[in-house]
Chain length 215, copies 2
DNA sequence: TGGAACCGACCGACCGTTCGGTCTACTCTA
DNA sequence: TAGAGTAGACCGAACGGTCGGTCGGTTCCA
């Protein structure tokens, strides 16, 4: 009944080559490299469905050793979602600083959102799946809602500028568009011979703005 | 820290009026009315984040009383997801029996999917969020994948019939389209003065097939 | 030799579940 | 029609087990 995936750590190899061009140091965790393992497991089993024992097993160290690197389970969650939030907010700042061109801004927003989603896949996945059971989770949800609203603002400005079809409520359109964008985390997996971030981003952009129908 | 939402049961009133046209019997749960409460809580806190104590509190009975109606937590999950699976599969059967018209079939599939999603919102939400931590959850995921593949089949047939634009991989297009459809569970809430199921279904259909751009 | 990295043993709290029992509405019978 | 019997709905207490987290070490390298 237990899927025993023993260790898949990827610890930091020779974190510093030091002064001497000497041999590699023993593999060791940093908070960030541990986070990488943790977020992967969170996304497999869900945050609430993941025990510290699960994390320890996946990291190849004991439960107590995890507490040497981070304060606890919640810190891993916060660090994880913050990484996604930082990337998304940085992108929005850039977009907001762009000159007029309201339709172009929305197109850029969609394209960039997909790229970030693919580049930071595990972290964005974690963010999108967060429930509101603890204060940290509710804070993440609030930050995420703020991002959704900035994006919805772009769509409304494009609609007000007359760049979008007029038979759709911009707020509804925005929900649907970024719903499609976010749904990418449910199936996208990177790898050679698979779709690239740009493949997906341009497919999303094409469907969203011009539709599936042949014309 | 605890959001104390005390009881919101909706128990079965006068489950039988008996021979006499007598007064209403005392409110009581059935497995189905209890399921309704449970699925709501599952969707708020996540399945793994919900304790039997949480369910008991929301139902206004004790933990042990829940076991009078159902075998356990997992049965509530199975019953919940099955309700969604049954509705979706029934719709697909109907669609498959339709005469040719491959593009029309896909349009119908999208429209009907949104309708079911809205009609059975809590149950479909539960299905879409299931992780694979137990055998029951993995079974639900497998059934869901089967549905996704039937839908993808419709899209591929429409593409093969030349009804869709040719610069998009039909498998990718299918993921995106039903990703948008499924994303509706993340924000849709029924209520007077809000969007109806048909509002959302036709908005999704319009965006998916004709895009957001003014033309 | 100091400190980072790690470990095994353990803690109190809470988990899903079980058990014995109570209360109440209804049915059956004398 | 009184009263015994039955069955369903529910409860309080407790079960074995797992949870997130702590503590007092040991190891090992700069």
């Amino acid at each position: 009944m237990n899927s025993q995936n023993t260790q898949s750590s990827q610890r930091v190899q020779d974190s510093q080559r030091a002064q001497t061009g000497a041999a590699a140091r023993r593999a060791t965790y940093t908070p960030d490299s541990l986070l990488e393992v943790a977020v992967t497991v969170f996304n497999e089993r869900g945050y609430d469905g993941t025990s510290m024992e699960d994390l320890a097993r996946a990291a190849g160290i004991t439960k107590s050793s995890i507490y040497h690197h981070v304060k606890g389970k919640e810190e891993l969650l916060t660090r994880g979602v913050n990484r996604a939030l930082d990337a998304l907010n940085a992108s929005l700042d850039t977009l907001e600083a762009l000159p007029d061109g309201e339709l172009d801004r929305v197109e850029q927003a969609v394209f960039r959102a997909v790229q970030i989603l693919v580049d930071e896949l595990p972290y964005v996945t974690l963010l999108l799946r967060v429930r509101g059971n603890t204060e940290a989770e509710r804070a993440a949800q609030a930050s995420r809602r703020a991002i959704d609203q900035r994006l919805a603002g772009f769509v409304e400005r494009a609609a007000a500028a007359g760049a979008l079809r007029t038979d759709l409520d911009p707020r509804l359109a925005s929900r649907l568009v970024f719903g499609m964008v976010n749904s990418v985390v449910e199936w996208y997996r990177p790898g050679p011979g698979r779709w690239s971030a740009d493949d997906v981003a341009s497919a999303v952009t094409h469907v969203v703005f011009d539709g599936l129908r042949r014309r």
